[in-house]
């Protein structure tokens, strides 16, 4: 009898233990985390400082991890890099909720605006601030360290164009829509029936293409305010008209015209890389997809052609992309914060750090004192435009649901289910209903 009861107790204890163990070992992102489950700034064994970095740029996670290893060895500062599939804000929210923030977090520009007041350390006194035009300041204080420069425009495949026209392709020759159309007609006559690919993703349509309508205005803030107040009539706006005229040309020559909204990004980029199509609206981040295929050497980026003479068709749109900020949480020591600042200095000024950004990660540097040659063709174009001062800045204050709500509206337009007036109406209605971000 007694034995039986002891047996039952043991059994129950074992079961309880397995239940608890099952709970403890589950993790949200087992494959991508490097190191143990907790990111709470562990002190290294020999008393050295250790810092944690959150990376939100999936394509450079391997490079970041390798860098962390060598950096830890050389500098005596333990660096651990983490990545998450969640949206940046959501992932950080979880970390804050569990009082376990990263020392350095890589976020998007809009996150700096929403997080800096509560969570970021003032970096105004850092030397690298003078070497970049892309750092984010709020109320005169610098909070965001720009990781790289990214810009959007039309990606072209010069080899594919040359194969048909027989001439070297000069992107400057198709700055206006009329010239662009003439080239497309030439390509079609030469056998490339549909020279364009259009991405149907909502972030591409309403996160990248549509915002150019705002960003290319003389005074973007006033324009947005006008949309909000209902005083702007998009259909009579020259910028909207010009960009939509161009979009119509892209749309009409789309290789997937009949099934535009089920076209897959990978397929489109493969066709572009292999020269089956010649143009696609995108950005230099697309290189990480293009280089998966048998790509042509001579690719590049050019401004979106427009029948306007305001100079916008000579510029790409973009700027700093992905920002590091250092957390001011109490759980992080001043020594850790100093190590984090040193790391940012290393990235910006040290030849090794510069080489890491440009050569290992193939990013376009945001710092003028980083003069290393960018390796990928799209990045090269962006760097050329950036160095010449030909970048139109990003508008970083779009409401969070902008790309989703207007992305749906824009997709309808792409699918031919609504006309330009319908799209303009949806955009105007949307803006009337939002609360504008203060900045």
């Amino acid at each position: 009898m007694k034995m039986k009861r002891i047996g039952a107790i043991l059994m129950a204890a074992a079961m309880a233990a397995t239940v608890l163990a099952g709970c403890g070992s589950s993790s949200d992102e087992p494959a991508v985390e490097n190191g143990s489950g907790s990111a709470a700034a562990p002190e290294a064994a020999d008393g050295d400082v250790s810092i944690t970095i959150f990376n939100s740029k999936m394509e450079i996670q391997d490079q970041m991890e390798a860098m962390a290893e060598t950096y830890s060895k050389e500098k005596g500062v333990e660096v651990e890099v983490y990545y998450s599939n969640d949206t940046v804000a959501q992932h950080l929210a979880t970390k804050y909720a569990s009082n376990d923030p990263y020392t350095i977090s890589m976020v998007d520009a809009k996150d700096i605006y929403s997080l800096a007041a509560d969570h970021a350390v003032d970096l105004s006194d850092q030397e690298w601030v003078g070497n970049t035009t892309q750092a984010i300041s709020i109320d005169g204080k610098v909070y965001g360290f720009p990781v790289c420069v990214e810009a959007r425009g039309i990606i072209y495949n010069a080899d594919a164009i040359k194969n048909i026209t027989g001439k070297d392709f000069d992107p400057a020759s198709v700055a206006t829509l009329d010239d662009f159309k003439a080239l497309i007609d030439e390509l079609k006559a030469g056998g490339m029936e549909t020279p364009v690919g259009v991405m149907k993703e909502d972030w591409s349509l309403a996160g990248h293409y549509l915002p150019q309508v705002y960003e290319e205005q003389d005074d973007t803030d006033a324009f947005i305010q006008g949309l909000h107040d209902g005083t702007v009539d998009l259909l009579s706006d020259p910028k909207f008209t010009a960009l939509m005229d161009t979009f119509d040309v892209l749309k009409d020559n789309n290789y997937a015209k009949d099934s535009a909204i089920s076209a897959e990004r990978e397929v489109t980029e493969q066709k572009l890389a292999e020269g089956e199509i010649a143009f696609m609206f995108g950005g230099n981040w697309d290189w990480s997809v293009l280089n998966q295929y048998d790509y042509s050497e001579n690719m590049g980026m050019m401004p979106v052609p427009e029948n306007m003479d305001d100079g916008a068709n000579e510029k790409l749109v973009g700027g700093g992309s992905k920002y590091f900020f250092i957390d001011n949480a109490d759980s992080i020591s001043d020594a850790q914060r100093q190590a984090a600042k040193d790391f940012l200095v290393w990235l910006a000024d040290d030849p090794e750090g510069q080489a890491f950004v440009v050569n290992d990660c193939a990013l376009v540097p945001a710092y003028t004192n980083n003069t290393l040659e960018v390796s990928d063709p799209l990045g090269k174009s962006v760097k050329a435009f950036a160095d010449a001062g030909n970048l139109i800045g990003n508008y970083n204050y779009l409401p969070d649901d902008h790309y989703s709500v207007l992305g749906a509206a824009f997709q309808k337009y792409l699918a031919g289910e609504t006309d330009r007036a319908g799209l303009a109406g949806e955009i105007q209605d949307y803006w009337k209903g939002v609360t504008l971000a203060e900045h």
């Binding site: 107790i9 129950a12 079961m15 309880a16 239940v19 608890l20 709970c23 949206t87 804000a89 959501q90 950080l92 929210a93 804050y96 929403s114 997080l115 509560d118 149907k200 909502d202 009949d258 099934s259 535009a260 909204i261 089920s262 897959e264 409401p399 969070d400 649901d401 989703s404 709500v405 992305g407 749906a408 509206a409 997709q411 309808k412 699918a415 289910e417």
Partner: protein
């Protein structure tokens, strides 16, 4: 040891149900109560302050047109899916208990879709609809066939199809158990009394399987109402946000648009609707249950 003392009872409870009870509190009850509290704040999901706004989030949720559209869409989807899932599951169960050759193999086969996670399932079917369907359709018709996922009706159809495919196997198991529980004597007696096979099924077998129906319909209603994984991986709400189901809208509201309080309030409304529908259905179903 006396077995009637309070201490004994408590220790027995803690030993056997304690771990589960603690976990249930930690992952269900406490988050639920805390989430309920958050519906009264205008928290954005990340800021330190959680300003108290009383019922503003509920007012916003009731005025959120997109939410009610998504909810209506979910209701339509649920009704169609539940009917189809249960019809298909019942027929499959009948098939695999009727003594066909290889019925164990079929049982396993029909159940397998349920073992694949919803996310993977969504991606697999997305490939089928976008590539295989288009390729075969284009080859057969000679023209360019668009993917069913690119039209609003088509996306909904695809969602329902995948749901039926996924859940029918699971519900089939419950119906199989139901079929087995009906004693062969009763059916035989009905047949000897001159009933046709269909009459025996309708008047003897099905009434005795009522509890299986109640269980299956309850499970499929609640699961369909909160569908998220397949929705995310198969359509992602596209095209034009026309396949955004209620759960996806709630997620977007809370985490993407950063209106955590409002999202949480909408989640609570979804929960209440789900609970009311589920409980009503079970109560009505139980009322007419018969015992053999």
């Amino acid at each position: 040891m006396k077995r009637t003392t309070m201490k004994y009872k408590v220790s027995q409870f803690l030993m056997f149900a304690g771990p589960a009870a603690i976990l249930f509190c930690a992952v269900v009850l406490i988050p639920f109560v805390y989430g309920f509290y958050l519906t009264f704040t205008s928290w954005d999901g990340i800021a330190r302050s959680k300003p108290f706004v009383a019922f503003a989030n509920y007012a916003a949720a009731f005025q959120d047109g997109d939410y009610w559209v998504a909810l209506g869409r979910t209701a339509i989807y649920t009704v169609i899916s539940v009917v189809l899932v249960n019809i298909v599951a019942f027929l499959l169960a009948y098939l695999v208990t009727s003594g066909v050759k290889g019925q164990n193999f079929f049982r396993a086969g029909f159940f397998i879709p349920n073992l694949i996670g919803g996310i993977v399932l969504g991606y697999v079917w997305k490939f089928v609809f976008n590539r295989a369907f288009v390729a075969i359709g284009s080859a057969l018709s000679g023209g360019n066939v668009a993917s069913p996922l690119s039209t609003t009706g088509g996306a909904m159809f695809c969602l329902i199809l995948v749901t039926v495919w996924q859940y029918a196997g699971y519900m089939m198991l419950i119906y199989v158990a139901g079929f087995m529980s009906v004693s062969a004597d009763l059916k035989e007696a009905a047949l000897i009394d001159g009933a046709t096979g269909w009459q025996a099924m309708k008047n003897v077998t099905i009434p005795l399987m009522r509890s299986s129906f109640v269980t299956c319909i309850f499970l499929s209603i609640t699961r369909c109402f909160v569908i998220y994984d397949v929705n995310l991986s198969l359509t992602k709400g596209e095209p034009f946000n026309s396949s955004v189901m209620a759960a996806m809208h709630v997620y977007n509201q809370a985490f993407v648009y950063k209106n955590y309080g409002e999202g949480q309030a909408e989640a609570l409304i979804l929960f209440v609707i789900c609970a009311v529908v589920g409980i009503t259905q079970v109560m009505i179903g139980k009322r007419g249950e018969v015992e053999a």
